[in-house]
C-alpha cells in the first residue's frame, strides 16, 4: 500500500508539473487540453485501482493482535524467499474447529489474478475459516520459486504464475496475507507423484516413471475416479475443453520407490518447509502408487532381488504384491517425515487421503500404519459422497473413529466442481454430520466452488449460507 501511495504521489507531482508549465507557456495549451481531456479516464482508473479487490484486507482486532515482525515485512518485498527462521508456529494448537479450504490452480483464478490471493484470504477470514491449503506442486510445476525444479525443467515456477506474480513469490504472499488474517497456511503438494506425460519433467526422466503390466506409462482413465464419481451432463460434454481447464489427457506416475524420485520429492519438500513461513505441509491421494503400477524395470528388479528371482504377480490386486509395494512406499514416508521435522520441527505433516480401505487397495497408501508410526500429525479424509447415508457410513467406520483418538481428523467435503455443482444444502448436511461425529473440523474442496459463479446458488447467497453455518460454532 505504501508503494502504491508513493506511486500516486509521484504521478500527482508529475501532473502538477505538466499543468504548471503548460499554463506558463501559451504554445503548450493544446497539449494541456489534450492532457486534461484524459483526466476523467485517469480518475476513473485510479478509483478502480483503489477500489478493486486487490486492496489489502481490512485490519481486524484479531489481525492486529497477530503481529507481523519487521523482518517478515521486509521478506515480503523480496522476490525470492530467504531461509526462514525455525520458530514456533502461530498455531501451535489446533483450532477448536478446523475450517480449511484447498486453493488450486486448476479451474481457478486465485493464483492467476494479481489480487486473487488477498481477495480470497480476506473473504475466508471474514467467514471464519482458519486454514488454507494452497497448491505448490501440480502438473510437474511448482507454484513457488524452486531451485531444484529449475535444474531439471529450466523453470523454477510455473511460467504463467511468474507473470502474474512478478514481484513476490505467491507462497510468500499467501503466508503473509494468510497470517495477517489468522489463517494457518499449509502448502499442498496436489499432484504428488502424478505428472503429465508431456511435461518437461517426464520427458527429461522417462526412467523415473513407473509402468503398468502392459508396459504403458499412462495412468488408466478410471484410476482416480473411485472417490470422485463425476456426473456428465450433455452440457458438460459440450463444454469439456473449457471445464477441463487444460487438464493433461495423458498422465503418468513418478515411481515413489525410485531413489532419484524420492530425492526429488525430499528436495522439493525441504525447500518449502525450510524457506517459507508456514504451519505445515500436505499431501493427498496423489501421494501414492496406483495399484496398476509397479511393473517398471527398477521396481521389478527390486522385487526380484527380494524374492529369489521370482517376478511380481500378474494380478495387480494380489494381496502380497500390494503389501510389498505399500511397505516399500511406507518406508519412504518415514524418511520424508524425518526430513520435514529436521528442517522444520514445528511443521505439521498433513495428509488428505481417501478412506483407509480404498486408499490402501487402490493407491497403496497404508495411512493407518503411517498414523501408528506418528508420521502424520493431521488427517483430512476425503469423503466425497452425495448421499448422506453413504457419507455418514464412511464417518462411522472404525478406522476413522480410532484414528480420531490419535490425531486431529477433519473431513474433506466436496463443494463442487465446474462439472459437478453441489447445492449448499448437501454441504450443510455434511458439515453438521461431521460435527455430530465429533471430528476436528472440515475442509472444503475447493475455493472456487465455495462461492462463485460456478455454484448452483449466487455467490452472495452462498457466502451468507457459509457465514451462518460456520457461525454456529
Amino acid at each position: 500500500m505504501r508503494s502504491l501511495i508513493s506511486l500516486l504521489q509521484r504521478l500527482t507531482s508529475r501532473w502538477l508539473h505538466v499543468i504548471h508549465h503548460s499554463l506558463a507557456n501559451q504554445s503548450q495549451r493544446p497539449r494541456l487540453q489534450a492532457f486534461l481531456s484524459t483526466l476523467p479516464v485517469i480518475a476513473l482508473c485510479l478509483v478502480l485501482t483503489l477500489w478493486s479487490p486487490s486492496q489489502q484486507p481490512n485490519e481486524t482486532p484479531n489481525e492486529i493482535s497477530n503481529e507481523i515482525s519487521k523482518e517478515t515485512l521486509i521478506q515480503t518485498q523480496l522476490s525470492a524467499p530467504k531461509p526462514a527462521q525455525v520458530s514456533v508456529p502461530r498455531f501451535a494448537q489446533v483450532p477448536s474447529e478446523i475450517r480449511g479450504v484447498w486453493i488450486t490452480n486448476v479451474a481457478s483464478t486465485v493464483l492467476f489474478a494479481p489480487w486473487g490471493i488477498p481477495r480470497a484470504v480476506r473473504q475466508l477470514s471474514d467467514l471464519q475459516f482458519n486454514t488454507v491449503y494452497p497448491v505448490v506442486w501440480n502438473r510437474g510445476k511448482t507454484f513457488y520459486h524452486s531451485p531444484t525444479l529449475r535444474q531439471i525443467t529450466g523453470h523454477d515456477i510455473a511460467p504463467v504464475i511468474a507473470l502474474t506474480h512478478p514481484t513476490e513469490d505467491p507462497l510468500v504472499e499467501m503466508a503473509r496475507v494468510g497470517h495477517r488474517a489468522n489463517l494457518r497456511v499449509i502448502p499442498w503438494f496436489e499432484y504428488g507423484f502424478m505428472v503429465p506425460l508431456h511435461s518437461r519433467l517426464a520427458r527429461e526422466h522417462p526412467d523415473w516413471l513407473t509402468t503398468r503390466r502392459n508396459g504403458s506409462q499412462q495412468l488408466h482413465e478410471t484410476s482416480l475416479t473411485g472417490n470422485r464419481p463425476d456426473k456428465h451432463s450433455l452440457l458438460s460434454h459440450l463444454l469439456n475443453p473449457l471445464l477441463n481447464s487444460g487438464a493433461p489427457k495423458s498422465l503418468g506416475w513418478l515411481n515413489p520407490l525410485h531413489p532419484e524420485v524420492q530425492q526429488l520429492v525430499l528436495d522439493l519438500v525441504t525447500e518449502v518447509v525450510s524457506q517459507y513461513d508456514i504451519e505445515g505441509i500436505q499431501f493427498d491421494d496423489h501421494f501414492s502408487l496406483p495399484v496398476e503400477f509397479g511393473y517398471d524395470p527398477y521396481t521389478v528388479a527390486l522385487y526380484l532381488s527380494e524374492h529369489e528371482g521370482q517376478r511380481p504377480p500378474e494380478d495387480v490386486a494380489d494381496e502380497a504384491w500390494i503389501r510389498w509395494r505399500a511397505d516399500r512406499f511406507s518406508q519412504f514416508v518415514g524418511v520424508l517425515h524425518s526430513r520435514i521435522k529436521e528442517n522444520c520441527p514445528t511443521c505439521l505433516v498433513s495428509l488428505s487421503p481417501n478412506p483407509a480401505k480404498f486408499a490402501y487397495r487402490f493407491h497403496l497408501q497404508d495411512w493407518r500404519t503411517w498414523v501408528s508410526n506418528h508420521w502424520i500429525d493431521e488427517l483430512v479424509v476425503q469423503v466425497y459422497r452425495d448421499e448422506l447415508t453413504r457419507f455418514e457410513g464412511e464417518l462411522a467406520k472404525e478406522t476413522l473413529q480410532s484414528t480420531r483418538d490419535q490425531i486431529p481428523v477433519s473431513i474433506g467435503i466436496l463443494t463442487g466442481t465446474w462439472r459437478r455443482p453441489i447445492p449448499f444444502e448437501q454441504i450443510k448436511e455434511q458439515v453438521i454430520s461431521s460435527r455430530d461425529h465429533h471430528f476436528s473440523g472440515v475442509a472444503f474442496f475447493y475455493w472456487d466452488t465455495l462461492w462463485s459463479y460456478f455454484t448452483p446458488e449466487s455467490p452472495q447467497k452462498r457466502r451468507q449460507n457459509f457465514r451462518e453455518l460456520l457461525a454456529e460454532r
Binding site: 476523467p40 479516464v41 476513473l44 478509483v47 478502480l48 477500489w51 478493486s52 451432463s233 450433455l234 452440457l235 465446474w418 455443482p421 462463485s452 459463479y453 460456478f454 455454484t455 448452483p456 446458488e457 449466487s458 455467490p459 452472495q460 447467497k461
Partner: protein
C-alpha cells in the same frame, strides 16, 4: 423471382413509409455508413463496458448491490457511451453524469441493480414477466436521467424515455429467459451472467438504433 426483383418491390413499399415516419418524427436522413458506424461503436462499447464491469461488480440474485457498485457500473457504461456521444453532442459529459447519478439513485432504491441482477425465480414465464415489468421500470428511470441530460439539445428528447423503457423491458425479459434456461440445464449460476450478457447485448444494440435516431435528428440549434 430474382432476388433483385424481390428487394426492389420491398424497397418500393417501404420507402414512402420510412419517409413519412421520418417526417412525422423529425428525423434527418442518416448517412448509411455514418449511422452504422455510430451504432456499431455504441453497441460494442456499451456491451464491453458491461463485461468490464463484471470485474468489479458481482452479479447477484436480489438487489444486494452496494451503492458503490451501482455507481461504478453506471460510470463504466456512461463512460463508454460518452465516448460516442461527445463527438455528436456539445455537452455529452452530462450523459455520463446522468448515467452515474441514474444508476446510483436506482441502486439506492434497490432497483438499479437490475443490470447486474438475476431474478430469484426458476419459472421461465414468471421470469419473463418480471423482466418486462422491472426492465420497463429501470429503463424509464434511466431514460428520465438521460433525457434531462440532452433535453436542451435534442428536439423531442422526451421520446427517449418510453423508447429506453421498452428496450430495457424486452432485453431484460429475454436475458432472464436465456439465463434461466441455461441454469436449468447447467445448474451453475454463471448461466445468469451469460443471460445478462445477452440482455446487455440487446440493450446495447437496440438503444444504439435509438441513439442514432437521436443524434441525427434535428437539434434545437439547427431548428433555430
Amino acid at each position: 423471382m430474382a432476388f433483385s426483383n424481390f428487394s426492389d418491390s420491398v424497397l418500393d413499399r417501404m420507402t414512402p413509409r420510412w419517409i413519412e415516419f421520418s417526417r412525422r418524427w423529425g428525423l434527418k436522413s442518416v448517412p448509411l455508413v455514418a449511422g452504422a458506424t455510430v451504432w456499431l461503436r455504441w453497441t460494442g462499447l456499451t456491451w464491453l463496458a458491461f463485461v468490464g464491469s463484471l470485474l468489479f461488480v458481482e452479479v447477484g440474485e436480489r438487489s444486494d448491490l452496494s451503492l458503490m457498485e451501482g455507481v461504478l457500473g453506471g460510470a463504466l457504461i456512461g463512460l463508454a457511451q460518452w465516448q460516442i456521444l461527445r463527438s455528436h453532442l456539445s455537452h455529452a459529459h452530462r450523459w455520463l453524469i446522468a448515467s452515474v447519478l441514474g444508476w446510483g439513485t436506482l441502486t439506492l432504491f434497490h432497483i438499479g441493480a437490475l443490470g447486474w441482477m438475476a431474478p430469484g425465480v426458476e419459472n421461465l414465464l414468471f421470469r419473463s414477466l418480471l423482466g418486462l415489468v422491472y426492465g420497463a421500470y429501470v429503463g424509464a428511470g434511466l431514460g428520465v436521467a438521460q433525457w434531462l441530460a440532452v433535453r436542451k439539445q435534442v428536439v423531442q428528447a422526451w421520446r427517449w424515455i418510453p423508447l429506453n423503457s421498452g428496450i430495457w423491458a424486452v432485453a431484460i425479459a429475454f436475458g432472464w429467459l436465456v439465463g434461466g434456461s441455461l441454469r436449468a440445464v447447467s445448474h451453475l449460476f454463471i448461466s445468469e451472467v451469460f443471460g445478462l450478457m445477452v440482455a446487455w447485448g440487446a440493450i446495447a444494440a437496440l438503444s444504439g438504433v435509438g441513439i442514432v435516431g437521436l443524434i441525427y435528428q434535428e437539434t434545437y440549434s439547427e431548428k433555430s
